[in-house]
Symmetry: C2
Subunit: 341 residues, 2 copies
DNA sequence: TTGAAAGCGTTACCAG
DNA sequence: CTGGTAACGCTTTCAA
């Protein structure tokens, strides 16, 4: 069961390897015609022989010779996180449609792991990289750029870097939507819990919240509580009790993990939403529909985020400009923001 | 910014490319000594030069020449599903530890997509494949075997195929544990909802349930309702109402999706667990702890499943025998199986 | 429209 | 222990 090479096909079809290579690499134009300088009859014959013999291009050889790989890498912070799970398939599908293979690897927030992943990127002749949710460390981007690999930033902006593609959510709008929903339903003392991560997505959501509060002349009521990913469990309980003591009537939670944390604490304390506290959560989860009261939440257009990031990257790989796209969030209404009586 | 090749290193270190190749491929043994037929001093010099020049092996060239890639592929049915999200990181970490890179791609249940993925596997000289949760279609495995690529089946058995590695959950035990828990807490009319998928994991869980019911002399009460993934939403509501009408007091849900579906219907119908219906769910989710009453559920040892599958595959790649591992599930107790009064 | 031949950077083989 | 050299299978000139 020897492997079929381009030479086998050439011999069997009575043509040169060059011709076979041409035919195998030709893209079909809209008429289904092969777009290459080969006699159509010859091309047809080559295609038939290749098919019959079960020929498949040896990827390593092609990559070695051409220096390209038709492969892109996607480096999320954690391949198993919520946001990424929803977006990975979209990326995969779109990449496949454009003729690229995708390669996933977690950076894990660790500079060492990140460095290894990037070495792998170099070693594999990978054509471009999509860097998805990462909290902390701009090294990724600059290192990748040093390697002259096209980069697209997904979900999170780094304002100091501009030679990369960007596909982002309009996070300010998300913060504004959440706040407007609460105000519209009669809530006034609306506060927010956020992480001290210093990443653009969160700070923009905070900005949206602040501006909306200001627009509604509620800025004196605006207050953002901060916690860290690791301390959230204990901080959130304290924050909620403090807020209730001060008469706060609603909370905006700008990430899924904070939303889950808050629901957990409220359950533990026997608090009900919206009676004791109205809520707006973030991202998608069965929890929002299965919690005692359904929870209003902001959703990101995962499909578009994924597809757009691939399109942007491929365009850059093929010599195009780095583009920036900002997509709109949406609000899914639930019982947690029911009109206040 | 020319790329540094093995030849550059050889010239700079005054040795042949052969020596450099030896050194770069040598694994360190436990003493940190390089395990290769090269003078330690020479090796050290080569290493230093390589470091200084920033040499990185060209993956495509190595793969082309050696026919191997130190890469394994993982093909789940859906890269974004629950089970897979929890296991992917474990696979990645373990593979990395053993010197392999991982490549993820969804088969998506579609034979065409599957075929494409396998072509990619061949084209990339991939050394082995882990096939994770797939519902329907044994083609995968036989196709991969035809390609002479080592295969490990993860989570789901195909009894007719034996030349592959297998890493499975003791699904019969899982069914038994769930049933025993319910019986132990005083429930008697225990039923089960399952999918008509004909996959081993589900049918084994059913077997465990049946056997446990038999052991407790409750076999006359045993009943399994069937639905399909697509029809679950409407079927589950009917099933629950029918069950309640017949005085059923507990349900065992052998998958996460069925668990979520049942919780959703119960919420909609205003039913409470365990008062109206005791429940045992499956797999991990925030839902189980955040639902009005916490839900007892069976968990799989995701870490072990992931690591073991990689270890098994790598052993096969390196010429070892195909092994079969069966891991034990665990039960996480919650309020949904509180003792019946 | 076709083909010959020169590499791409590595590893494997065989000598020393 | 060390080194020369022939592949690996493909793409890419260049010439016909």
């Amino acid at each position: 069961m020897k492997r079929i090479t381009i030479r086998d096909v050439a011999r069997e079809a009575n043509v040169s390897v060059t011709l076979v290579s041409f035919v195998m690499n030709a893209k079909r134009d809209k008429d289904g015609k092969l777009d290459c300088p080969v006699n159509p009859d010859t091309a047809k014959r080559v295609l038939e022989v290749a098919q019959r013999l079960g020929y498949r291009r040896n990827f390593a050889a092609a990559s070695l010779r051409s220096g390209r790989s038709n492969t892109i890498a996607v480096i999320p912070n954690d391949i198993s996180n919520k946001f990424f799970a929803g977006i990975s398939r979209r990326i995969e599908d779109k990449a496949h449609e454009l003729g690229y293979t995708v390669f996933f690897a977690s950076s894990d927030e660790s500079p060492e792991k990140l460095s290894e992943v990037l070495d792998a990127v170099l070693a594999h002749n990978i054509d471009g990289v999509i860097i998805a949710p990462v909290t902390g460390g701009e090294h990724v981007i600059t290192r990748a750029m040093d390697m002259r690999v096209p980069v697209v930033l997904l979900d999170r902006d780094v304002e100091t870097i501009n030679e990369v593609g960007k596909v982002l959510l309009d996070d300010e709008e998300a913060g504004r939507m959440a706040t407007d929903e609460l105000v519209g339903k009669g809530y006034r003392k609306i506060e927010m819990i956020s992480y001290t991560l210093g990443i653009s997505s969160l700070s923009e959501r905070e900005t949206g919240y602040r501006k909306a509060m200001m627009d509604h002349d509620l800025y004196d009521n605006a207050k953002i509580h901060y916690t860290t990913y690791g301390d959230a469990a204990k901080d959130v309980e304290r924050i909620i009790q403090d807020a209730l003591a001060r008469g706060v009537d609603a909370l905006f939670l700008p990430t899924y993990s904070l939303s889950a944390q808050v629901l957990s604490v409220m359950k533990k304390l026997g608090l009900q939403t919206p009676k004791d506290l109205a809520l707006v959560g973030f991202d998608e989860s069965d929890i929002f529909s299965l919690y005692a009261t359904t929870v209003t939440h902001i959703v990101q257009p995962l499909k578009e985020l994924g597809e757009r990031s691939v399109e942007t990257l491929v365009r850059m790989i093929e010599g195009g400009e780095a583009e920036k796209t900002v997509l709109k969030p949406a609000l899914v209404a639930g019982g947690s923001t029911e009109k206040r009586n």
